[in-house]
């Protein structure tokens, strides 16, 4: 079957949506290769449909058997991002994989929420350790009327707050920050590994 201009635009439209969706998660060279392969599949099917009485129906059947572009893109992303995150354990790969799950599953959404809280907490502790030598009088354990109310930095210092804690806060904050970061990373990797196993099981 030789595609008319309308048929070509339908195929190009499908590939355009697929490419746009894949670009969200995958590197450009992988996207190019994936779109090229899907296009090859469509062209192959179109040749097979030679002699079909109605081009529009034949093309719609081919594209419907292939699956909606968003679903195909989701399958690519799931295979690629989660495998990469589990295999490498890299921060960017893990964040990318959990973000992908967050928009496609309820469990993934809560995992992403937990991950965000974990990373933010780790970042706050590390920031405290970094800010203490620069603002020694603004960073420490905050006491209000003799009761500890928090640990952090205050700009400007409130007269009601009594700040305690010397430079020993730095190693402690660093320790907690790094421990929470590593714990969050490991937790996320374990979750992705479990999700991957469940998908393959």
């Amino acid at each position: 079957m030789h595609l008319t201009e309308t048929g070509e635009s339908r195929v190009n439209g499908y590939l355009f949506v697929l490419e746009r969706s894949l670009k969200t998660f995958l590197p450009p060279d992988v996207v190019r290769d994936a779109v090229r392969e899907i296009e090859s599949h469509v062209r192959e099917r179109v040749i097979e449909a030679d002699g079909a009485p109605n081009e529009r129906d034949a093309l719609e059947r081919i594209l419907s058997e292939l699956g909606p572009p968003l679903r195909v893109a989701q399958a690519y992303s799931a295979e690629r991002t989660i495998d990469e995150a589990v295999a490498t354990g890299r921060f960017v790969s893990i964040v990318r994989a959990v973000s992908h799950l967050a928009v496609s599953t309820i469990g993934g959404f809560f995992a992403a929420l937990g991950l965000l809280i974990g990373y933010l907490t780790a970042f706050c502790f590390i920031a405290l350790a970094a800010l203490k030598p620069i603002f020694p009088n603004n960073v420490g354990i905050q006491f209000a009327h003799g009761v500890p109310v928090g640990l952090g930095a205050h700009f400007p210092m409130s007269p009601d707050i009594d700040l305690r804690g010397g430079y020993w806060i730095i190693p402690i904050a660093l320790f907690f920050g790094l421990a929470i970061f590593v714990g969050t990373q490991r937790g996320a990797r374990r979750y992705l590994s479990w999700w991957r196993g469940r998908r393959l099981s």
Binding site: V30, D33, A34, R36, E37, I38, E39, S40, H41, R43, E44, R45, I47, E65, L66, G67, R71, V72, A75, Y76, A78, E79, R80, D83, R199, L200, S201
Partner: protein
Amino acid sequence: MSHETWQEQLRRGTLDLAILLTVSTGRLYGLAIIQHLEAFTDLVITEGTIYPILGRLTREGLLEAEWVEGEAPHPRKYYRLTRTGAKRLADMKGEWRAFAEKIDRLLVASERAARASH
């Protein structure tokens, strides 16, 4: 677990084995793999979702892929089994046969028990 979920998990679990078995017959491009699977099984529900699996198996080193131009009006991406893939396939075949045998034994035992109770 619903019956549909169980069927879906069974299908996904066996898809890697089915694809490796298909490619073990020789160098094949995506659509030829899908058609082979469709001829022998009903494992392919959405054709487009087979390609990401082929990509993963390639990244895992079980398959190797190569673009070939000039054979058809459009380029085709061919897949072939690597040595690692052939070894993994042999392991998977052995495990599958052992697994199927155990389930068969369970089925026979269950059917015998059902007959005896009637």
